[in-house]
Every structure is written in structure tokens, then in C-alpha cells.
């Protein structure tokens, strides 16, 4: 699988969980911690992100930045 990861802006995140539903890998979950506005924010809880961007696409607050291994690097790694 291609490797990917996400950076989540924890202060912008409102914990709506739509990204959790959208993620095909179940990589995301709600943190136990809360941000300054009192929302539990979302975090990567597994190491299996593929950088598919589904989470970022549905995020209302554009809180997610997605990174994905390029095909070159993936082929090298394999």
C-alpha cells in the first residue's frame, strides 16, 4: 500500500467525525483531549493511512492536510 499521512489542525477541528466515517482505513479517531474551543479533535490513531484524501475532502473546516508517498518512492520502498 502507498504510504500516506495527515496533518490535522487541532484548533480548527470541531470533532464532527465526518472524516472518521469517510476514512476507508479506519485510521482516524477522536482524541480524548480537547482544543481551546472545547471540541475533541480528531487524530491519526493508526499507522495505515494511504493518503487517499477522503477525510480532507469531507472536512467542513479544511482542517486536514494530506501527504502521500509518490509512486517513485513507493516503488523504491517496496
Amino acid at each position: 500500500m502507498i504510504k500516506g499521512t495527515v496533518l490535522i489542525n487541532t484548533e480548527t477541528c470541531k470533532g464532527c467525525e465526518l472524516c472518521i466515517v469517510a476514512c476507508p482505513q479506519e485510521s482516524l479517531s477522536l482524541s480524548q483531549k480537547i482544543n481551546l474551543r472545547g471540541y475533541r479533535y480528531v487524530e491519526l490513531s493508526q499507522d495505515n493511512c494511504t493518503g487517499c484524501t477522503n477525510c480532507a475532502i469531507v472536512c467542513p473546516d479544511a482542517a486536514i492536510t494530506v501527504y502521500r508517498q509518490s509512486k517513485q518512492n513507493y516503488k523504491k520502498a517496496v
Binding site: V58, D61, V66, S70
Partner: protein, 260 residues
């Protein structure tokens, strides 16, 4: 690309980030609100098409009254229901720019029904983005013309009753019949799939504006977690099970090759 985004991380490329055409303002929308998704995708399309400097938007009265705080483009705030008339005024004096109105169900299908129908009847060369969440969010969750049969709202506390309040108004079906309507489609923004399709419909609409053939109309079946009194996750089910049967997704009118 945003200035301060790290473009590479651990050998991985950035493949998705917040569009630069959205401002830095924190969005006031409730967690999980479809408005915010719609704003984001609209601004993504503006960024990708490179039209940020040539576009004017008209914000409605409703939850998205503050749209102009989030969209980094020239915008005008309209009186309730009048966004398509305001957009008409802009379009008539700026014939070469991109012009769109962004409206909710009260704005477009209650108080603004006359303006909506006549703007489209004139084939005004604008895009109308119609966010339909079957409720009046901003004012506290009252019934909308598009509220469903049996839906409990603050002004239909026993559930919408057809005999008393009439039927959910299928305004999109109505206006699709008008010859001035060039492209009419119903989309959603609650899943990755629907969001991608919505983005495509926006791109179509702005491409069609170059042709000056009539009004483009995109309804977005959306949610209102606060008004519907549900969690954002629960609204996804409500959309699938209740809203979409009443307001089915898909194209109602597409330009044919032979259309003049």
C-alpha cells in the same frame, strides 16, 4: 498553495490542503455543517480555474450570511431572498466576469421565489448555488418550504402536516422547466463521492458561464445538525434515508449538443 504549508513531509508530497482562496477566518458553522464543505469546494474550484480575480459572489441571509468572511473574492451581501436580483444587477453591468449567488432554502424558495424564478426565466448568465437542508438554521430551526412531511421543527413542533403547511417544495424541478435554465443539477456534500461530484458540477457551471447560454443551478442537499437535532454522523443517515428519496441526486437538465 498556502504559503505556510509544508509541501513535503518525510519524503511524502502534499496532495490536499485548504485552498488559498478561503480566508484564514475561523468558520462559525456548526460542526459537520454542509455549508462549510460547500464553501471550501467552491473556493477550490475558483483556485484551480484561476478566476479569483474575476469573480463576484452574492451572499444570502441565513447561516451563510457570513460567506463573505470566508471566501477571498469580491462579494456582496444581499437582503433576504434577493441574492439573484443582486447578482442580476452585477451581471448586467459586468458582462465578462464570473457571477454567482449562494442561497439557502428560505432565501431561494420562500421569500426569494419570485426573484429566483424570474432570474432564471431571463436566463441570467449566473450560477445559483442552492443549499437545501430543509430548515431555517440561522434563525433557530424553523420550518422551510423544503422541510419534509412529518419533520419536526421549531414552527412545526408536531411534525410538518401537508394539510396545514403544504408540500415540500421541489423548486429545482420547477425551475428546470424554464427555458432560461441551462444546467440544473442536484448534488450533495456528505460523502467523499458526492463531494467530488459536486466539485465537477461547479466546474461545469463556470465553464458554461463562458458560453453565456443561461442560468446554471446547483442544488446541494445538505444537513443541519443543530436544526435537525442530530450529531453530524446521524445527519449522514438522515440525508441518505429521508432527504435523498425526496430530493434525488442527479442532473435535471444538461446542455445538449444541439441546444442553441
Amino acid at each position: 498553495m498556502l504559503e505556510d504549508t509544508v509541501l513535503e513531509l518525510d519524503g511524502m508530497q502534499c496532495v490536499y490542503q485548504k485552498p488559498s482562496t478561503l480566508t484564514d477566518d475561523y468558520m462559525h458553522y456548526c460542526p459537520g455543517c454542509g455549508h462549510a464543505v460547500a464553501h471550501k469546494i467552491l473556493m477550490e474550484v475558483v483556485e484551480e480555474m484561476g478566476i479569483q480575480e474575476d469573480i463576484i459572489g452574492v451572499a444570502p441571509v441565513g447561516c451563510s450570511v457570513f460567506a463573505y468572511n470566508y471566501m477571498n473574492i469580491d462579494m456582496q451581501e444581499a437582503a433576504h431572498g434577493r441574492a439573484s436580483a443582486v447578482a442580476t444587477g452585477i451581471r448586467r453591468v459586468l458582462p465578462e466576469k464570473y457571477v454567482f449567488s449562494y442561497q439557502g432554502d428560505g432565501d431561494l424558495a420562500a421569500i426569494g421565489t419570485a426573484e429566483t424564478i424570474h432570474t432564471i426565466n431571463r436566463g441570467e448568465n449566473i450560477l445559483i448555488v442552492f443549499i437545501n437542508n430543509g430548515i431555517y438554521g440561522m434563525t433557530g430551526g424553523q420550518m422551510a418550504p423544503t422541510s419534509l412531511f412529518g419533520q419536526k421543527t421549531s414552527t412545526s413542533p408536531y411534525g410538518r402536516d401537508i394539510e396545514h403547511n403544504g408540500y415540500p417544495l421541489k423548486i429545482t424541478e420547477l425551475i428546470a422547466h424554464l427555458p432560461g435554465a441551462y444546467y440544473v443539477t442536484r448534488q450533495a456534500v456528505h460523502t467523499p463521492n458526492t463531494v467530488r461530484k459536486f466539485k465537477k458540477s461547479l466546474k461545469n457551471a463556470f465553464e458554461y458561464q463562458k458560453l453565456k447560454k443561461g442560468t446554471c443551478f446547483i442544488e446541494v442537499v445538505s444537513n443541519c445538525p443543530s436544526g435537525w437535532k442530530m450529531t453530524p454522523k446521524e445527519t449522514l443517515t438522515y440525508i441518505e434515508e429521508k432527504m435523498l428519496p425526496e430530493y434525488p441526486l442527479g442532473d435535471l437538465k444538461v446542455p445538449t449538443q444541439n441546444k442553441n
